[in-house]
Structures are given as structure tokens and as C-alpha cells.
Symmetry: D2
């Protein structure tokens, strides 16, 4: 991981990066597929917040805590919807969102 990145962000940043890819894959796989809940609408929103959160952590921003708190909420919401679908990409997305939410809560504390 990057030189000069504030090490306190390391676990959260990695969780966000993994979650971002899993959300993008889930969104892609669900595109054009009928859904009975908010997946993949939740992934669209999660992607937006994750990208900003990654950017603020990389910038060692004083706004990171507040963004992490919001990111945790959006990840939990996304996990709830994706985990209700049996597709492997939805299950993986939900799992990544849960882990990411946990790391974001630690950062926000």
C-alpha cells in the first residue's frame, strides 16, 4: 500500500476498494435482470459513496470520519438487499459490504 498514506486508513481503504469492485460486478451482473428488492439499485448508491470515501482517505481529509459514518450506513443497506439474492455475485457483494461497514464504523468512531 502507498508510501505516505496515513496508515490508520489501511484496513478501511482496502475494505472499501474490495467492496467497490464487488458492487461494480454485482451491478453489472444484475443489469437487465428483474429484481424483487433494491439490488442493484443499492449498489449504484454504494459505488458513489465508496469512491468518495476512498478519495477522502487517500487525501487524509478531516472529513473522512463523517464520510466513513455515511459509508457504513450505505454499505449496511446494500448488504441487506444483496444478501437476499442467491447469485454468487450478490452474496459476495453483501459479504464485502458487511466487512466494509465494519471497517468504516471503526474509522468513524
Amino acid at each position: 500500500m502507498s508510501a505516505n498514506l496515513n496508515v490508520k486508513y489501511l484496513d478501511c481503504l482496502e475494505a472499501c476498494q474490495a467492496c467497490l469492485i464487488d458492487c461494480k460486478v454485482c451491478l453489472t451482473k444484475m443489469a437487465g435482470m428483474e429484481s424483487d428488492n433494491d439490488c442493484p439499485y443499492c449498489c449504484i448508491q454504494c459505488i458513489e459513496v465508496l469512491e468518495a470515501n476512498i478519495g477522502l482517505m487517500a487525501a487524509d481529509s478531516k472529513f473522512s470520519k463523517e464520510m466513513c459514518a455515511l459509508c457504513a450506513k450505505v454499505c449496511e443497506y446494500c448488504a441487506e438487499h444483496c444478501e437476499a439474492h442467491d447469485h454468487e455475485h450478490c452474496q459476495r457483494c453483501a459479504e464485502s459490504c458487511r466487512k466494509c461497514a465494519e471497517e468504516c464504523r471503526k474509522m468513524a468512531a
Copy 2:
């Protein structure tokens, strides 16, 4: 539009910004809906390229021409699929993509 933005980008930048919102709205409205073609999968891809294209133009990057050329292709592909759907958001997205592709081709020339 922004002070110190290179004015040559003005029309293309505005077309890309409008197209970006129309693609995001189309993607959102199509989320969870069955589709018989690449819409909204095409919107996912178009969004990625539009965001980079906007960023490179705002930065007056020497890579803008090449990115505009790629953006024009992705916009045409997106327009072809969205315009086959009767939804207002798909029709609007297709129209924005056509206009954006045209402006991008001018920039790439």
C-alpha cells in the same frame, strides 16, 4: 462555465455533463427491470468513460483527444441500445448520447 477552462472544450464538456446525468438516471430507473438488450449495461460503461472525459477536459489534458474518440464510440453504442426502449429515460439517454458522441467526435478530430 469555469474561469480558465480552455474554451475549446465548452460544448463538449456541457454535452458530457448532460449525458452523464441522463445515463445515471437511465441506469437508476432500469435497475431491477428486465431488459432485452444492453440497456442499462451500456449506461454503466458510458458513465465510466464520461467521467474520465470530463476530468481530462477540465484538466486541459493532452490525452483529451484520444479519450474523446473513445467516448464517442461508447456513447454511440449506448444510444443504439437505449433508443430501442420506449421509456422516457431511455429515449432521453439515447438523445444525450447521440449529441455527446457528436461533440466528442469534433474534439477528437
Copy 3:
């Protein structure tokens, strides 16, 4: 502006889009230039939050209010630093940030 975009976001979305370009231009123009305050470091952070805010509004997300509240804070912080610089791009960026903060506060209310 986009078909099917929730009209309540219109003013805020336009303010965010203008502010995003002005921040990107300010960051670009300041790159490699010495600075006596947080400009353009503030622009880096503002860009991240603006992009997420635009995305959540385009998606008509229930998290938009909270993101708008955070975006207003980051925009005010960015305006404070950019307005202290005489460059036209900094003045423009500060002005856009103030306007954007105002629209974001309305959305967050």
C-alpha cells in the same frame, strides 16, 4: 436537464456540476504552484464529495440529504481557502463553492 430526474434536485445538481468543473480547473491551475493555505488541497476533497453527491441525487437516493449536508461543509471549507487567492480560477472556484454550499444546505434541510 434529464427526463425522470427528480426535479427537487435540479438547482443543487446544477450547482454541484458547475462547482465540480471549477474545482477541477482550480486544482489543475494550482498544480505545481506554491500555496500558503489549503488551496488546492481543499479542491481535491471537494471534488470527491461533489462527485458522490451528484451521483446520489441522480439516483434519487435516500442518502442524498446526508451527503448534501457533508457537501455543504466541504464546499464552505474550500471556499474559505480558494477565496484568499487572487487568481481568477481560485476566485471562481470560491464563488461556485459558496453557491453550491447554499444549494446543498437547502437540500439537506
Copy 4:
């Protein structure tokens, strides 16, 4: 790495993600600092292209090859400028850019 991600992208995606963080950190650390070359202006451009490239690979887009080819060019340009600076963040950024360019060229082939 993500379930259902096309495995052919794995190495390139990881290189792009690492490079993205290193570019964001380099840009942040260089903000407000005088520079004798294009660093951190090159990082601004690299970030835009990397984000799109990551997104297109996650979406298994048919435009990935072309984007990877452009990304390789921007990464090489960024490496040339950052490696001329002795700062640890610049050296790291240059190293990540070289590795990313190599992976992108493989994808583009």
C-alpha cells in the same frame, strides 16, 4: 477478489487500484508545493483514466482493451514526471505507474 469478475482482468485491476491510491496520495502530498515538472499535474490525469479503466474492467466491457491502451500511455507519462522527484510519494507513484502501464499493455495486446 470479486466473485464473477472476469479473471483475465485480475492482475491489471489490482495494479490499477494500487496505482490509483498512489496517484491520489502523490497529488495530495504535492498540493501547494512548487514543482519543476508535470508532477502532480500528471497524477490528476492519471487518476481520471485509472478510475474509468477500473470501472470498465469490473464491467467486463468490450471497450476495456482500448481504455487499457490509453491508460498505459498516461501511466508512462505520469511515471516519467514523478520519478524525477525524490519524495518518497513521488517515487512510489512512479513505480506503481510503471507496473500499471505494463499490466495495461498486456490487457491491450
